[in-house]
């Protein structure tokens, strides 16, 4: 039965879709990409539709273009001047292939170029994040150690660390007296995320969240939960759920900063969710996290969702 449906679906997408597209092209005088760029709401709905359309294209030139853009973004070369040239090159290719007059359709050129930036910027972001994650925290690396110290200063501005290895680390939710072993599979990414949250949102959300985590009954280990949320953010980025967030919040090529902001959003929302669950102890973490993750996925399913930390609700 399932096979039959798959067969019908393949048939429709292979034979019926081109006829449908041809019909629309003849009646509207626009190709599918143009119809999307003019018709779909900007942000995630438009970018995702363009992504799908490009992926389904049977033109060998488009396939070649996609392979090229994939290569560029996987190797972190989609930046600065090079990035701008690549976007205009990609737009020109599509204009040629689809025989679009850029002087008539200057609006398409602009909007399609933006979609290219977003789609391959996301892919590049994934590669950037992955290289941070696979960098193991190294206590012999001065830069890593400096960031760890900055984290302490941002979270505990009024307290000095007695030494590098001290029980004080547990006050911000590390497991033992040396945080280096807690980053594990999230590597430097776990530290960068925590540091971003603590320094960029230090006066508001992060200090609220830290103070909640210290609650004697409903508290939790701030840093450890933070590292687990890095894992969640990374998985959402990898499986594409985070596209809604990135496409709706980014005006230019998304950078690692956007990922950090996504993480901060998750951390802040997780804290609210945790408190609302009124857990009796840290042992309820797995269940609460699973529930939270499915809520997040549900809200990321809505392409029109705009995500922001709702400071007004801060207690």
């Amino acid at each position: 039965m399932v096979e039959m449906y798959t067969y019908i679906w393949l048939f429709v997408s292979y034979y019926v879709r081109p006829i449908y597209k041809w019909f629309l092209r003849k009646t509207t005088g626009l190709c599918e990409l143009q119809r999307i760029c003019y018709g779909a709401v900007s942000g995630a709905p438009r970018v995702r539709a363009v992504e799908k359309s490009l992926g389904a294209s049977r033109s060998p030139q488009i396939a070649q273009l996609i392979a090229h853009l994939n290569n560029v973004s996987d190797n972190h070369r989609f930046v600065g001047q090079n990035g701008r040239e690549i976007v205009s090159g990609a737009v020109s290719t599509v204009l040629l292939v689809k025989r679009i007059n850029p002087r008539v359709h200057f609006q398409f050129v602009k909007s399609f170029g933006h979609c290219i930036q977003q789609i391959w910027g996301y892919r590049q972001l994934l590669a950037d994040v992955e290289s941070l994650r696979t960098t193991t925290y190294d206590p012999d690396n001065v830069e890593h150690e400096r960031k760890l110290m900055l984290l302490w200063e941002a979270l505990r501005p009024d307290e000095m660390l007695a030494s590098r290895i001290t029980k004080q680390w547990q006050d911000i939710g590390f497991q033992g007296d040396d945080p280096k072993t807690d980053f594990r599979g999230m590597g430097l990414l776990g530290l960068e995320n925590l540091l971003f949250f603590a320094s960029e949102y230090g006066n508001g959300p992060a200090s609220h969240v830290l103070s909640h985590s210290l609650h004697p009954v409903h508290g939790y280990a701030f840093a450890i939960v933070g590292i687990n949320l890095t894992s969640m953010a990374w998985q959402l980025l990898r499986d594409g759920h985070a596209k809604t967030y990135v496409y709706n919040t980014c005006k230019a090529v998304p950078s690692v900063r956007v990922f950090h902001q996504f993480y901060c959003y998750l951390f802040y929302e997780f804290d609210r969710h945790w408190l609302a669950c009124r857990p009796k102890s840290m042992m309820e973490f797995s269940d609460i996290k699973t529930k939270f993750e499915s809520n997040v996925k549900a809200s990321l399913q809505d392409p029109n969702n705009v995500f922001s930390i709702r400071l007004a609700d801060t207690v």
Partner: protein, 180 residues
Amino acid sequence: MGLLSILRKLRSAPEKELRLLLLGLDNAGKTTILKTLASEDVTHITPTAGFNIKSVVSEGFKLNVWDIGGQRKIRPYWKNYFENTDILVYVVDAADKRRLEETGIELYELLGDEKLKEVPLLVYANKQDLPESLSASDLAQTLGLPSIKDRPWQIQACTASQASGVREGMEWACNTIKKK
């Protein structure tokens, strides 16, 4: 073959369920062992906040493995998971010499608990790939395992991140239960 006889056959060979409890200090490698047992990817593990549980089939047993976080703050909750434990699996980071004493104290506290009385003990001497790690026999001596007389025990060298030695430990655990 009638339906009845099939049913009878199914009932005569049930998969015995075992409850395994994985304990040890933080960063010992409990979650890595759990994931290795379940043949899952071990490259993106995070510290366990709370606990993880997985069921795996091994040696004709269904193993329900409970992996409880090892940080000091949640050790007081360990005892909530003692009930009906068939095998106690204690994981030690054999390269963390600084905390050998602490890990020994926690272990003997477990062994002294009424609910874990006579429960067979499997100790994993994990992280054998690190140059400074103690061998299984040295670790057994350091922890004073040979003086344990009230239950079967075993020490198993392993490198959980490379999946080496983990299965061997489980084989011992299952055989010990079979003999009972």
